[in-house]
């Protein structure tokens, strides 16, 4: 009421002033968020890297480095898909089972029709499974975590039925050597992961799809109001996550040479851990592909270090659980800090 009586000049100044202050606050909040995110992944990465070089024998040997890079690449590719799903406020717990099914079908196809058909089959199967997840979530309206918990069980049953519980040996040496081949002294899978990562960063930052992902994750209601097809974005996110798990499954089959129905159990936890550790917030709307990539390297270094130190593999479970809870605590602290900044208090 009063504003209309007071001279309009003053009001405009006030509004402009307030607008500038809130922009500054948002800027500072953003900076603080970035610092916390970078510290959350950067500090553990450096600590583990230094500890690995100092305390772990053979850590820097060329074969171990190559091994770590391949493992990190396979994990990172799964992580990209998970990053996308978490960015639209979903979650995919079925990636491990989907990867196992894709790897086993790829292996069988390689034996029947050759390597190229195997690659196509693996990625295609992954995409189909992702599409199924997406349809259950968007069309049947089942919450993501419970839908994918159920499909985790369904896919695992399917892969065990497919293999009949027996391992599948891959005969093609060309297919098996792909994971260990090197280009410019760096394993091929690592190049693949880097290229897919770069493409994902580009898609998320510069393409319409990426803008829509951020919008849907930031506020689904506003996204609906601005005419974005939210369900289609969610469906695509799950589909891409499935395709990513399939791609990683093909690389895994190539790396292992022998696959069976029980590989990749517990992969979902590793994937979620690297995504959250990489700075993608569980609250959605902030995909950080580069963070996921670095966190995949970190997790692969931790696993490799524990292996080289002859630590029983059970401790890797514990390390992973602790890492995940640490990452989630950093995420929570970062969100709390940002919301305090936005409200204006220190």
């Amino acid at each position: 009421m009063n504003e209309s009586i007071v001279a309009p000049q003053g009001v405009e100044d006030l509004v402009a002033d307030e607008r500038q202050r809130s922009a500054e606050r948002a800027q500072r909040a953003d900076n603080r968020r970035r610092i916390l995110q970078n510290a959350g992944i950067g500090i553990p990465f450096l600590l583990v890297l230094v500890a690995g070089f100092v305390a772990v024998p053979n850590f820097a040997s060329s074969s171990n480095v190559a091994n770590m890079l391949v493992n990190a690449a396979i994990l990172a590719i799964v992580g990209y898909g998970m990053t996308l799903v978490i960015a639209v406020r979903g979650i995919d717990l079925s990636v491990g089972s989907a990867q196992a099914l894709a790897a086993c079908i790829a292996a069988a196809t390689v034996n029947a029709w050759g390597p190229l058909a195997g690659v196509v089959a693996g990625i295609g199967v992954g995409a189909l499974l992702g599409l199924f997840n997406g349809l259950v979530v968007t069309q049947l309206r089942v919450p993501g975590f419970i839908a994918t918990l159920a499909t985790m069980s369904v896919f695992r049953g399917a892969v065990l039925l497919f293999t009949g519980g027996a391992p599948i040996m891959i005969a093609s040496t060309a297919f098996k050597s792909a994971a260990t081949a090197k280009f410019l002294a760096i394993p091929v899978p690592f190049w693949i992961a880097a290229v897919i990562g770069a493409a994902a960063v580009f898609a998320l930052s510069s393409m319409r799809f990426g803008k829509h992902v951020v919008a849907v994750g930031g506020s689904p209601e506003s996204a609906v109001d601005s005419g974005i097809k939210v369900k289609r974005i969610e469906l695509l996110a799950y589909l891409i996550a499935g395709a990513a798990a399939g791609t990683a499954g093909v690389l895994l089959a190539s790396q292992l040479g022998v696959v069976n129905g029980s590989i990749s159990a517990g992969l979902e936890l590793q994937a979620i851990a690297i995504v959250v550790l990489g700075g993608t917030s569980m609250a959605g709307g902030q995909p950080r592909i580069a963070g996921t990539f670095v966190a995949a390297l970190l997790l692969s270094m931790i696993n490799s270090g524990l292996n080289l130190l002859n630590v029983p593999s059970f401790y890797q479970y514990v390390a992973l659980g602790v890492l995940l809870i640490f990452a989630l605590s950093v995420d929570g602290a970062q969100r709390a800090a940002v919301s305090r900044m936005m409200k204006g208090s220190k």
Partner: protein, 338 residues
């Protein structure tokens, strides 16, 4: 139990008119008991196909299976009624059963079970604190602690199976009372206690309140945080109880004795009719759900279907149950979350 529960919620706006009483009370009651009908039809069908099904040995088998899932599902029902979830069931069961197997040579049967329940409570407390005070979403916090607990279990046993030789313990946990397996009797008792806890105490009211609307519950001054931690502790105890009976049945304990058990438990609760969006829970439904899955698994075994189909079937039934629930919920959205 169920009739009272319906009256309880509908009682506030029941109209004395006969027709509306039929609509408000009797119809929902029948539509909510369709599960028992399915259970009976399924049992008769399986019995017709394989008469072995009704053999006393097989029936007691089914009841054993149902009571392991059912015991854990009682705790899970309370969690889901509070809008929470616990995926660490397999880890809690492993750690507490290993505790039983380790403690038995040195103590009495009672002290071993007591130790298991204590460990279940502590592990539940860890989950509760992570969810309530570190504010990690429940499904992801408990996914983390699942691996943490499994890791602990493997470290404790060194990856080996621990035998359980105490005759008294085995007699107690695998015996029967008046022809009904002891675990099933315990399941009925625990289900009744959980029902009373959820629907007849202040604690249960708080759980249902924050299950349907957490913000409203804390604004109303209810002790939401305390109740949240306590409901995780209760769930941990119920998982440990399931673990104690499982260890007796298997005569051993090991790290991966209950891998993937969380799926069965959640499926039993959800198929039983407890909606994932929280605010209410039906213990009768949970027990019937557990029985239904036990009969289904048993039928697949008797019919000689590969056991891998059980994974597929459990997942498919879970998705179907939630999808149907989501359709129903959207039809009744106006009435609020119970």
């Amino acid at each position: 139990m169920q009739a009272e529960d319906v009256k309880n919620r509908e009682g506030t706006h029941v109209d004395p008119g006969n027709a509306s009483r039929w609509r408000d009370q009797v119809l929902p009651l029948i539509s909510r008991q369709y599960l028992i009908a399915i259970l009976i039809v399924l049992s008769i069908a399986v019995g017709a196909a394989k008469p072995v099904f009704w053999g006393s040995g097989n029936i007691s088998n089914v009841l054993f299976q149902a009571s392991f899932v059912g015991l854990a599902a009682c705790g899970m029902t309370l969690l889901i009624a509070g809008g929470l979830l616990d995926l660490s069931v397999g880890g809690v069961i492993a750690v507490s059963s290993i505790a039983v197997a380790t403690a038995l040579p040195y103590g009495t049967v009672g002290s071993a079970i007591g130790l298991a329940l204590l460990i279940g409570a502590v592990l539940g407390l860890v989950n509760g604190l992570l969810v309530t005070f570190v504010r990690i979403p429940p499904f992801i916090a408990t996914l983390g602690t699942l691996y943490l607990f499994l890791g602990l279990a493997f470290i404790w046993t060194g990856g080996k199976v621990i035998g359980l030789s105490s005759k008294n313990y085995r007699a107690l946990t695998t015996g029967d009372i008046l022809g009904v397996p002891t675990p099933f009797v315990v399941l009925v008792i625990v289900a009744v206690l959980s029902y009373l806890l959820l629907w007849r105490t202040y604690f249960g009211r708080t759980v249902r309140a924050f299950g349907s609307n957490e913000r409203a519950a804390s604004l109303a001054g209810l002790p939401v945080k305390r109740a949240k931690v306590l409901v995780f502790v209760f769930a941990g105890i119920s998982f440990a109880l399931a673990g104690a009976f499982m260890a007796g049945r298997l005569a051993s304990a090991e790290g991966n004795m209950a891998m993937g058990f969380e799926m069965d438990v959640i499926a039993a609760v959800v198929v039983g009719g407890t909606a994932l969006r929280g605010g209410r829970g039906t213990l009768l439904g949970t027990v019937v759900g557990a029985l239904l899955f036990a009969v289904l698994a048993n039928a697949l075994n008797l019919l000689g279907v590969a056991s891998y189909w059980q994974y597929v079937l459990t997942g498919a039934v879970l998705i179907a149950a939630i999808a149907v629930g989501a359709r129903r919920a959207s039809a009744a959205e106006v009435r609020g979350a119970g």
